[in-house]
Every structure is written in structure tokens, then in C-alpha cells.
């Protein structure tokens, strides 16, 4: 069954690739195989032909943790190699590696900063915070006054150089003071 065996080779990861991924991510061998299985479950036909296929964002958002997450689309965009939300298996592996429990706080805070920076200007400004709070509390509405108050409070707590925006250094500083961040910013495979 030459046809079958060559199809099999396309399907599964080679040993070389698995070892490579072990060096480049925080996963062990088993976890990489499980990750590939889950990736395949999103679009079995496409992934059977090319194990590193690129899946559209709408397909990626079928993954349960991403679908239930108000920031699911931002996560896909940040980890996507084309920056448009479509992910290959390597992007997906990268995503799961950063979101795994083994990843250190520095890596997580870097990516969290990118996810929360909705307008991609390398600072979390007022509009970013507004969008963030709205997504967190939808469909409950926060009044305009409360929103202003919240943004003001956040800036009071975290904006150290008083420019009205959070730079990465300030964000990292705040995250280091949040004890729950590592636990909440994690997804188990």
C-alpha cells in the first residue's frame, strides 16, 4: 500500500520535526503529538494532506478555548505568521507553548501585551483599555462615567511615567505584581 504509507507520512510528524519542536517550545514529545492531533481535529481533510497546513481564522476559532475566549481573534492574529489570523500548525504550537503552564511569566507577559494592544501601536492606550473592558464584560454594559473612572484607576495604578498609556515595561511591572496571571493565562492541551 504505497499510496497509503506515503499518505501516512504526510499525516504524522517526523521524528526530526518532533525533536526540533521539543527544542523550540516548552512541550514534551507526548504533548507535541497531542497538539498535532488537536490541530488535525479542527480540519481533518486539509491537515491530512499537509501536516503544516494553514487554517483560516474562522476554522481556528472552532477550537473550544478560543471560541469561548473574548480575545480569541486577537490571539489568532498575534500568533499568526501572516498577522491576519490564519495559523499553520507551527503557529498553533507556538500559541499553545506560550499558553502552557511551563512557559515563564516573561514570555506570557510579552504576548499578553501584544494581545491587549488592539491598535498595534506598541502601547496600551485609552482606546485599548476601553476595548479590553468592553470585551471582558459583554453583554453587560458599563456606563461611560464608570468606564472613565476605571481607565483612570488603571492609569493611576500602572502608568508610572504619567503619559496616559501603558508601555511594555509598565505592563510587565504590573503583571509581576499580579499573582494570578500565570494561572489564568494558561491553556492545557
Amino acid at each position: 500500500m504505497g499510496q497509503g504509507s506515503s499518505k501516512q507520512q504526510e499525516d504524522f510528524l517526523t521524528e526530526e520535526e518532533i525533536e526540533d519542536y521539543q527544542d523550540l517550545t516548552y512541550f514534551t514529545r507526548q504533548e507535541i503529538i497531542v497538539a498535532h492531533k488537536k490541530f488535525k481535529a479542527l480540519a481533518p481533510d486539509i491537515v491530512s494532506e499537509n501536516r503544516n497546513a494553514r487554517l483560516e481564522m474562522s476554522v481556528m476559532l472552532n477550537y473550544p478555548e478560543l471560541r469561548a475566549n473574548p480575545f480569541g481573534d486577537r490571539i489568532c492574529k498575534v500568533f499568526s505568521s501572516l498577522q491576519d489570523g490564519s495559523c499553520t500548525f507551527e503557529d498553533f504550537l507556538d500559541m499553545m507553548s506560550v499558553l502552557s503552564v511551563h512557559a515563564p511569566k516573561t514570555v506570557k507577559s510579552e504576548y499578553a501585551f501584544r494581545i491587549f494592544d488592539f491598535d498595534n501601536d506598541d502601547m496600551i492606550g485609552r482606546e485599548d483599555l476601553r476595548e479590553l473592558i468592553n470585551r471582558l464584560t459583554a453583554p453587560q454594559r458599563i456606563t461611560e462615567m464608570e468606564m472613565m473612572q476605571l481607565i483612570q484607576n488603571i492609569n493611576n495604578e500602572s502608568d508610572l511615567d504619567d503619559d496616559g498609556m501603558l508601555s511594555f515595561a509598565e505592563f510587565e511591572h504590573i503583571i509581576s505584581k499580579c499573582p494570578d496571571f500565570t494561572d489564568s493565562f494558561s491553556v492545557k492541551l
Partner: protein
């Protein structure tokens, strides 16, 4: 507008002088860019911001983006070479592999290469760039290491691969599927509660294994070296042996009286249960010896030592787990970063279904509203009138008094119930009556726990504290109630026993009149603990399965709003934590009187897990108030610690005050249980004995206390100094931020000034010059000498 009318021939230096005359933040029109910075950034401003060194860190170096944190750290260490950096950034460097490796350094050796490869994982770049980098590192020329260093590297590589393989093989996690289900539906707060149950279960299993191996098995397998026999002629001398034989005879007579009775005996711990390894009365008071060998095993010594060591290890375990999370959880949780904590780490990324996500969103909304209300309340509080403050304090004092009174009343109720039941137990025959009297105290305790807890949850709302304080206060009060109820139970028993049985004991009698049931009081205490544990678990299970679950089904079928508000429960973690803590407190209390009790506690923890899982998933809804889901299990461990010390106090009190019973146990006939340890210590060599005695003397305690006080003072002084330093640095940072905005504004103005002047002369190439203007500014940021040329060009 003074700046616009500046003479056109002013040089950079003169302009600089003028800058210093301004005061910041300037109110000039040119600096309306200030608002632009915090709101939207104009394009020229954005261009300026992008050429700042802190933004340059994002630029690719050698095709690879470094993480910002890494960059600042490596650059920070090599500050002396920073003059090289800004001009080289953005250009490709063929001879520099890594910013940390300067061109004049040696070729890196294998250890460095390996370290750098390990560090690739932490880089925030896509996978293909990571792979490129790894291949580049692998193919770069390396310096081959020799000898010891090479050995170290090989060992490191082997060890990391071995660890990974081990993790893959031994990846069994108890209750993995249940925990994933709970995590996906409820988030990490509820998950931490179930992790806590698991940890407590493992701790109990470890204690059980230790007691089993070191106390129960030797006693069951090895015979005593010699047994005393009762000599009727010389009764006072062999009184312990006579009493023991009588006791054993009595108990064996009551062993089997029918199936129904056997079941009741199981629940009460009597009859055939009484002389099992479960209770204190089973154990020998002699040194055990393996037959035909000379292996000795001093059981009485082993009994007390193993128990003490087990308790000590439990204490260490609980303290370690508390300390792990204590600093993070309790100290950082203050009012300092609460908003940021909510906004940035409130969302549990592990939630995997949409309905739980909706609950979570509601929870976040409620928490934010709660914080805003608290702040408003605090603001009001400061504005509160004298009258209001006085009124509030009066209300708080009254509620505190009411709570104390209720606690005292509960204590008194338990005391009288125990006395009543003890009296009637003596006079009752076996059967239902006896059963009822014996189970009366535990049921009273459980009932009071439930009722008073509910009352305390409602009364705390009157006191108008912040939600955080409310939860902590209620938790503390409820813990105190539970522990105090056990304490009162034990105390009333001991008081009765001492008054009635111990005081009137003749030298040649086994027990005083009317005290036959308490002939072996340690076993009676063990039985009480056994009954308390069973009752508590049964009450909890019964309540959840037969009351709350049908209610929930009823509410689901008749969705009326008033029903929901009245009866629908959330999974409030503090309340459920207390159940586990109470169980554990009973276990610690009873371990001395019933060596196998940790095993029973472990089994109950196992059953607890499933009961709570059932409650969580089928009966309750996810917690919408985030303070009902305190996330760190360190807080729960702290509550465990408090109950540990309370249990320890009770045990020590009983051992110190009451003599061991004459009829049973490893210490029958002795004055106190410590006698056994004292005998052994006396038999040790002199230097060892003095060593132990030194620990108990004042010569050790006083220097220890002094050293501890000095250490505390030293650390608090350092903490105060650091705090002051943080304040100073924060202020400085704000000033630097203002400086930066000011300078950027000035620069922007200079650019637009230049541009507008150029625009007057050559309108058709305005676009070109605008970009040139940016280049001017770029070059201007490098060196002032260049800028001289620039300004001359521009003007």
C-alpha cells in the same frame, strides 16, 4: 508664540539655551501635542516616537527580533558599549551573531551555544524564525570544550532529555478528567479548591502509611517479649494486668450480637470495632520482639514518637505551602493593584464553553462594579458626618457582641448536651436508646455549625465592610466556631471524666463507680472523633443529595425569579473549604487516640472530592462574585494552620491533665505518657542526654528569641528603606516622562517650523522635505555636531 518669532540664524546651541528657560510641561501651543500623546498620536509625533531608542529595541537585529526584556537586560549590562548600539541597529551585521557578543569577543564555546539554543524558547518570534536562529547557532563556528566542562555539558544535555522522557512516562494525574471538566467550566478559582482537596488527601495518605508501617504492623506481627499476668493474691502490684484482662473479657463478650447491632457498632466504634487497630486500646505496652531473633521494637516509644513526628511533618508541609503563596496572594492583594489585577488576569483562558464564559463575564462585571462601589463608599466614608460614623461603630460593636454571644451560647449548648448524653449513656442499655444518646453530641455540633454559619453570613452585611473584609471576617468567625465546638465537646468530656472517674479511683480498682464505659477513656475519645467525622460527612452528603439537588431540579423546571434568588446557590469556595478544614482538624485531633484515623480521613477526602464535584456541577452555579473564589490554595492552608494549632492544643491539654487509663493501651499504669520518652532519654549516653536537655532549658530559648527579634528588626528596616527608594524612583520616573513629552513636543515644533519655512520657499517639494525633516530629527538624535550641519542646511 515667542518661539515663532525667533531670529532665523539661531543655532542649535542657542536654541538649546532657550529650551532650558522654559518650564515644563510647557503650555505653549506647540505642546498641545501633549494631549495628542495620550489620545491619538499625530503622524509626525508617531514618527518621532518610533526613532526613540526604547522603540528601536523592536527593530530586527540580524533578522531576529529580541524580546524587549532581554534586550534591555543585555544592553543594560553593557552600558559602556551603548554608544555603538543606535547607529548599528537597523543595519545588518554580518560579523555580529548576537548583540551580547561584541565583535572583539572570542568564538563562543559549546556551553554558550547550548545555553543560547535553550533560550530560543523564550523569544517572542514566529516558529520559522526560531528555527532559522537555531540552525544558525548550530552551524556557527564553536570552540570545542575539553575535560570537565565538556562533561558538565553532556550531563546537562542528558539530564534535560531524561527529565522530558520521565515526564512523558509518569504523566498520571489523579482525577485528571474531572479536573479538566471543572477547569473548563468554572475557571481556575474553583480548580484551586479541588487541588487543595487533593493535597490534603495525599498528606493524610502519607500519615496513614507511616502509622501503618511503624505502629500497626509491628504490633500485629510481633509478639510482646513478656506478658504480665494477673495475680489475684497480689492484686495491687499487678493491677494493670488484671484490669487489662478484665477489660478484654468485657469487650470480647459484647463482640457479636446480631447483624443490626453489628452495623450500629460500626457506626459507634464499639463492640467488635473496639479492639481493632483503629483504637488506642488495641496496642501493647511491652517491648515487642521478633521470635528467635534479637530484634527489639519498643512499641510505646514508637507510638508516641511516630505520632509526634507525623504531626510535625504535617505542620512543615502546611507551612511550606502557605509560605509559597503567602507573599503573592495576601500581600499583593491589597488595594495597590486591584484594578489591574482584575482587568489583566481576570479572564481564565482555560474556559472552554460559551455558557461558562458568559458566567465569567458576569463575574468580571460584578467585580468591577464592586470595586467601583467600594471606592465610592470609601469616598463617602471620608465625607461621612460625625453622626453616621458613630452610628456605624455602634452597629459594628453590637454585631460583634451578638456574634460573641451566639458563639458562647453554642458552646454552652454543646456542653450541656454532652453532659446529658454522658449521664444517660451510663444508664442506658444497648440498643437504639444508647445509639441516640451517643450520637446526640455530634449531631448537635453539625446542626449548630450549619445554622450559625448561615446566620453569620447574613449578619456580616449589616456591618458594611468592604467585600474583601467581609469574606475574610466571615471565614475567620466560622472557622473559630467549628474549632471551638470541637474544643468545647472535648473539654466537657474531660471535665466530666476527671470529676467523676479519675478523682475517685482506688489503688486497687480498675475504674471508679459508674465509670465502666470510660474504663478506657482514650478509646472513648477516639470513638468520639470517629463519630464526629462520620456524622459531619453524612450530614453534608445528605444535605446536598437530598435537599439541595432536588431544589435545583425544581428551580430548573419552574424558572421563577423569586425562586432563583431565594434558593439558587453559587459555589462559594470559603464555605466548602471549611468542610475540608474541619475534617482535617478532627483527623489531627484524633490521630493520637486512633492511629488509623488518617486513613479514614484520606478516604473521606476521596469521597469529599466526588461529593463536592457533584455539588459544583449539578447543584450550584459558577461563582459570580470573584471574591468567592480566592484563587490561591495558600490561603486555605493558612486556615488549616490555625486549626492545626487548635487541635494540637486540645491533645496536649488532655495528655497533660489526665492519667492514662489503667485497663488498656501502651501506657497503662504509668503516670503520664511522657514517662516513656523520659525513660528512653535517660538511657541514652550522657552527652546526648545533655544535648536534649539543653534544648529545653532557658539557656537555649533566650538567645534564640533575641536572635529572632534582631533578624525581624533588620528585615523590617530593609523593607522600609526599599519602600522609600521605590517612592523616590517613582517620582523620578514621572519627571522623566514629563521631560520626554516636553522634548518630543519641542522637537515636533522644530520640525514643523523647519517644514513651514521650507514650504514657503519650495511648495512643490514639500513632501520630500517633510521626510527630510524627519531625517533631520533622526540625525539630530545621534549627535549634536551633525545637527549643526542640518540646521544650517535647513535654514
Amino acid at each position: 508664540m515667542a518661539r515663532r518669532s525667533r531670529p532665523q540664524t539661531s543655532t542649535w546651541e542657542e536654541a538649546r539655551g532657550e529650551f532650558y528657560q522654559e518650564h515644563f510641561p510647557s503650555s505653549q501651543a506647540g505642546l498641545e501635542a501633549d494631549d495628542g500623546l495620550s489620545g491619538g498620536v499625530s503622524s509626525s509625533q508617531a514618527q518621532l516616537l518610533n526613532i526613540l531608542p526604547s522603540r528601536q529595541l523592536l527593530h530586527t537585529v540580524d533578522g531576529v527580533t529580541m524580546s524587549r526584556g532581554q534586550m534591555t537586560r543585555t544592553l543594560g549590562k553593557r552600558r559602556s558599549t551603548l554608544t555603538v548600539r543606535p547607529s548599528q541597529l537597523g543595519q545588518s551585521q554580518t560579523d555580529v551573531d548576537h548583540p551580547a557578543v561584541l565583535p572583539d569577543q572570542e568564538i563562543p564555546d559549546e556551553q554558550q551555544i547550548w545555553d543560547q539554543i535553550q533560550a530560543i524558547k523564550a523569544m517572542p518570534i514566529p516558529m520559522d524564525k526560531k528555527r532559522e536562529r537555531k540552525n544558525k547557532l548550530l552551524n556557527s563556528p564553536t570552540f570545542r570544550m575539553q575535560g570537565m566542562q565538556r562533561f558538565h555539558l553532556t550531563r546537562q544535555k542528558f539530564w534535560s532529555r531524561f527529565k522530558d522522557a520521565m515526564v512523558d512516562i509518569f504523566s498520571f494525574e489523579l482525577w485528571h478528567d474531572s479536573l479538566r471538566l471543572i477547569e473548563g467550566n468554572f475557571g481556575t478559582g474553583v480548580l484551586s479548591y479541588f487541588h487543595y482537596i487533593k493535597k490534603v488527601m495525599y498528606m493524610n495518605l502519607a500519615m496513614f502509611a507511616a502509622m501503618l508501617l511503624l505502629v500497626v504492623l509491628p504490633n500485629a506481627l510481633l509478639p510482646p517479649s513478656h506478658t504480665e499476668h494477673c495475680d489475684d493474691d497480689d492484686r495491687p502490684a499487678t493491677i494493670t494486668a488484671c484490669c487489662h484482662e478484665e477489660y478484654v473479657a468485657n469487650v470480647t463478650a459484647m463482640r457479636w450480637r446480631g447483624v443490626a447491632q453489628a452495623f450500629m457498632d460500626f457506626l459507634q466504634g464499639q463492640g467488635y470495632m473496639e479492639l481493632t487497630p483503629l483504637f488506642y486500646g488495641y496496642y501493647e505496652n511491652e517491648i515487642l520482639v521478633a521470635p528467635h531473633t534479637s530484634i527489639y521494637y519498643n512499641l510505646p516509644l514508637a507510638y508516641v514518637l511516630v505520632t509526634l513526628v507525623c504531626l510535625l511533618l504535617c505542620l512543615v508541609y502546611v507551612v511550606i505551602h502557605t509560605a509559597h503563596g503567602f507573599q503573592d496572594a495576601i500581600l499583593s492583594r491589597g488595594k495597590f493593584y486591584q484594578y489591574c489585577n482584575v482587568i489583566f488576569s481576570a479572564w481564565d483562558f482555560c474556559i472552554d464553553n460559551v455558557s461558562s464564559a458568559e458566567y465569567k463575564q458576569k463575574a468580571v462585571f460584578n467585580e468591577l462594579k464592586g470595586y467601583l462601589e467600594t471606592d465610592q463608599y470609601e469616598a463617602e466614608r471620608r465625607n461621612r458626618s460625625q453622626m453616621d460614623t458613630v452610628q456605624l461603630y455602634v452597629v459594628r460593636t453590637v454585631t460583634n457582641i451578638i456574634v460573641t454571644v451566639i458563639l458562647i451560647i453554642s458552646g454552652v449548648i454543646i456542653y450541656f448536651v454532652v453532659q446529658y448524653s454522658l449521664v444517660n449513656v451510663e444508664n442506658a442499655d444497648s440498643g437504639i436508646e444508647l445509639y441516640i444518646y451517643q450520637y446526640l453530641p455530634p449531631f448537635t455540633v453539625s446542626g449548630l455549625n450549619i445554622v450559625v454559619t448561615m446566620f453569620m453570613y447574613h449578619i456580616v452585611t449589616l456591618e458594611r465592610y468592604t467585600p474583601q473584609v467581609q469574606v475574610t471576617l466571615t471565614l475567620l468567625r466560622t472557622v473559630f466556631l467549628r474549632v471551638a465546638s470541637i474544643a468545647v465537646l472535648m473539654y466537657s468530656f474531660f471535665v466530666k471524666y476527671k470529676a467523676q472517674c479519675e478523682g475517685r479511683l482506688d489503688p486497687d480498682a480498675c475504674y471508679a463507680d459508674g465509670c465502666q464505659r470510660n474504663a478506657c477513656w482514650e478509646t472513648v475519645v477516639g470513638q468520639m472523633c470517629w463519630r464526629l467525622m462520620l456524622t459531619d460527612f453524612a450530614a453534608l452528603a445528605g444535605l446536598n443529595i437530598f435537599v439541595y439537588f432536588p431544589l435545583r431540579i425544581f428551580i430548573d423546571h419552574f424558572p421563577a425569579a423569586w425562586l432563583r434568588t431565594l434558593f439558587l446557590q453559587e459555589f462559594e469556595i470559603p464555605r466548602h473549604v471549611l468542610d475540608v478544614v474541619y475534617n482535617q482538624a478532627l483527623c489531627w485531633l484524633g490521630v493520637f487516640f486512633s492511629p488509623l484515623l488518617p486513613g479514614v480521613a484520606a478516604l473521606l477526602c476521596f469521597l469529599f472530592f466526588y461529593l463536592k464535584r457533584f455539588t459544583c456541577i449539578r447543584v450550584c452555579t459558577p461563582p459570580t462574585l470573584s471574591l468567592h473564589s480566592i484563587r490561591s490554595s495558600a490561603f486555605y492552608m493558612l486556615v488549616s494552620l490555625f486549626s492545626f494549632f487548635a487541635s494540637l492544643l486540645i491533645v496536649v491539654f488532655s495528655l497533660a491533665e489526665i492519667r492514662p487509663s489503667r485497663s488498656c493501651g501502651p501506657y497503662r499504669g504509668l503516670d503520664t505518657m511522657w514517662r516513656e520518652i523520659q525513660k528512653t532519654v535517660d538511657e541514652l549516653p550522657a552527652w546526648l542526654r545533655n544535648f536534649f536537655y539543653y534544648f529545653g532549658s532557658a539557656g537555649f530559648a533566650v538567645p534564640l528569641v533575641i536572635i529572632l527579634l534582631l533578624a525581624m528588626y533588620y528585615y523590617s528596616a530593609i523593607a522600609a528603606a526599599n519602600k522609600h527608594m521605590i517612592e523616590v524612583l517613582k517620582e523620578q520616573l514621572v519627571l522623566e516622562g514629563h521631560d520626554k513629552q516636553f522634548l518630543l513636543g519641542k522637537l515636533n515644533e522644530l520640525n514643523s517650523l523647519t517644514r513651514s519655512r521650507l514650504g514657503e520657499r519650495r511648495e512643490n517639494v514639500v513632501g520630500e522635505r517633510m521626510t527630510e525633516g524627519v531625517h533631520f530629527a533622526e540625525m539630530g538624535s545621534r549627535s549634536s555636531s551633525d545637527a549643526q550641519v542640518v540646521t544650517h542646511q535647513g535654514l
